[in-house]
């Protein structure tokens, strides 16, 4: 256990240094905010485009506001998805292709799985900061309404924690893939989050997707994570205008999230070992594939 803790701490420190020491702290803070806020603004403008498609009729304000809240809050939690997934699976490619340190790290007596998780921790920290800023921005400048009962704070935090664990596990599954694939970090960085963007009901209710799409979404634990966090944060009247076709019992959803997170955790260990084994067998642990 102490080896894991030590490795995690060291990797987290390294990840933070690599993440932040390229510039002054204040500039780093601005950079960390601009990207997610710009991403949120894309949705704001798309939302405004709705009025172009169908000019609002009287009495639609509440429905429009509910939909906007739905999209905006979904996007806030998506910040974690993009950052955590990218932060996890790019560790191997970065250490292998850019810094060429992977062979030295890999052969040292540390749990490599934990090392990757530790390296991703800095991305999660930055994502948390960006998510909070984006939420506050939405509340104070864009009229986003949120409401979280004090009694629901523990379940909110528990869900947040489980969701992040699940993300890390999924990220490690992707890292396992990157053991044996060429340098396609940006293809993965864009594509995998895109898959969740589509199937997890981030920006639109799952019920919008065709039947098979809904089926895919219901298998992905993040779907429940987004749904639960949104239900806890958004005002109750939101659900008068938006229907997700997912279970509405919070504890049940949390339990689903727990089970699926555990399942992904074990899957990640399996895939990680497999990817590692295949890479060692083929001599690809420290291959360079840049072109």
């Amino acid at each position: 256990m102490s080896s894991h803790l030590r490795t995690f701490r060291l990797a987290a420190w390294l990840g933070w240094e690599m993440e932040s020491n390229w510039t002054e702290p204040w500039l780093f803070a601005i950079y960390s905010v601009i990207k997610p806020v710009a991403g949120a603004f894309i949705l704001v403008v798309m939302y405004l485009s709705f009025t172009f498609i169908q000019p609002p009729t009287a009495g639609m304000e509440a429905a429009n506001q509910a939909r906007f809240n739905f999209i905006y809050v979904g996007n806030i939690f998506f910040i974690f998805v993009a950052a955590t997934l990218f932060g996890t699976f790019q560790v191997i490619q970065a250490d292998r292709e850019w810094y060429q340190t992977i062979r030295y790290v890999y052969m040292s007596p540390i749990p490599f799985y934990t090392y990757i998780v530790g390296r991703a921790a800095s991305k999660v920290a930055v994502a948390t900061f960006a998510a909070v800023i984006t939420l506050l921005f939405g509340i104070f400048f864009l009229g986003v309404r949120v409401s979280l009962d004090l009694a629901e704070v523990p379940i909110f935090l528990a869900a947040l924690f489980l969701g992040l664990l699940c993300l890390v596990a999924i990220g490690v599954c992707l890292a396992a893939l990157s053991f044996i694939t060429a340098k396609h970090v940006h293809g993965l960085a864009e594509g995998i989050p895109g898959m969740f963007y589509l199937f997890c009901g981030v920006l639109f209710p799952l019920s919008v997707l065709p039947g098979w799409g809904q089926g895919v979404g219901k298998i992905i634990p993040l779907t429940y994570w987004f749904d639960l966090e949104r239900r806890l944060i958004l005002p109750p009247d939101t659900w008068n205008y938006v229907s997700t076709s997912l279970p509405t019992d919070n504890l049940y959803t949390l339990a689903l999230l727990l089970v699926s997170t555990l399942a992904f955790y074990f899957l990640s260990i399996l895939l990680f070992r497999l990817g590692e084994h295949l890479a060692r067998k083929a001599g690809k642990i420290d291959m360079t594939t840049a072109y």
Partner: protein
Amino acid sequence: MTATVNRLSLNLRAMFGRSYPRVIGMQREPSWLFFETILPLLGIAAYVFIYKGFFLGLDADPAANERLNAMIGFVVIGGTMIAFWLNVLWSMASQLYWEKEMGNLALYMMAPMSRMALLAGMAVGGMFMTGTRAIVTLVAGIYVFGVVLTVTSPLLILAVFFVTLIALYGMGMMLASLYLLWGREAWHLSALMEEPIFLVSGFYFPAKALGQSIALGASIIPATLGLDALRQLLFPSKALSGIWILPPDTELAILLVLAVLFLFLARASLAYLEVLARREGRLTSRHQ
């Protein structure tokens, strides 16, 4: 004259030489087919479903339906152009950062070839991958989401497309010069030029939705006017008038100017920043 021919021959060979690893790399590591074509479609699909999801049952309102079709088409075309923008950012501009990390940059800078030939080689070499991604996005987007386009002026569409590309790649060469001097700062600058540029250039919606002034300001990025012109030409319906920045002819003219300007600026900035980087000793310093 002989010196000019020799220089041209040198730079053409250099361009061919640098494009070679890209071309061969695609053949030897075919995993890009999945990562660069299938996966990006998912992100675009998500944006399409935002529009579709909140406007189910618009069949009874043909005008609204037409506008919805156009908005979805905008997303598809924007997604197509994203392929080129990301290629400019990551496979050209920031490529010099990777080359520095791998130890190739010093050898490139020591060679007598033009820096623009080097960058052009990277662009040309990656064009097949980027082009494949763009075509798959466009075709799949049209067929899967049922977008209805009207091709009224095919020559003008091609002209806009290619001039936009040249201007975009010229801009990419200009950005690449930053990497001679900077290291990770430039990499993060490239990362910063994804979502904010998607926003102000209107990759997923008409740029004029941000206001005419902002749209005009954003026109310095070739993708803004390029997308606007392409959308006007592919969705010429009068129901959509009022959402465009400028007429397509005017936008093409401005794009031509931008193309020349960026190529000129690229040449100047590459030369200038190379001198700066040599002065500061940054051409060979890794992990900056």
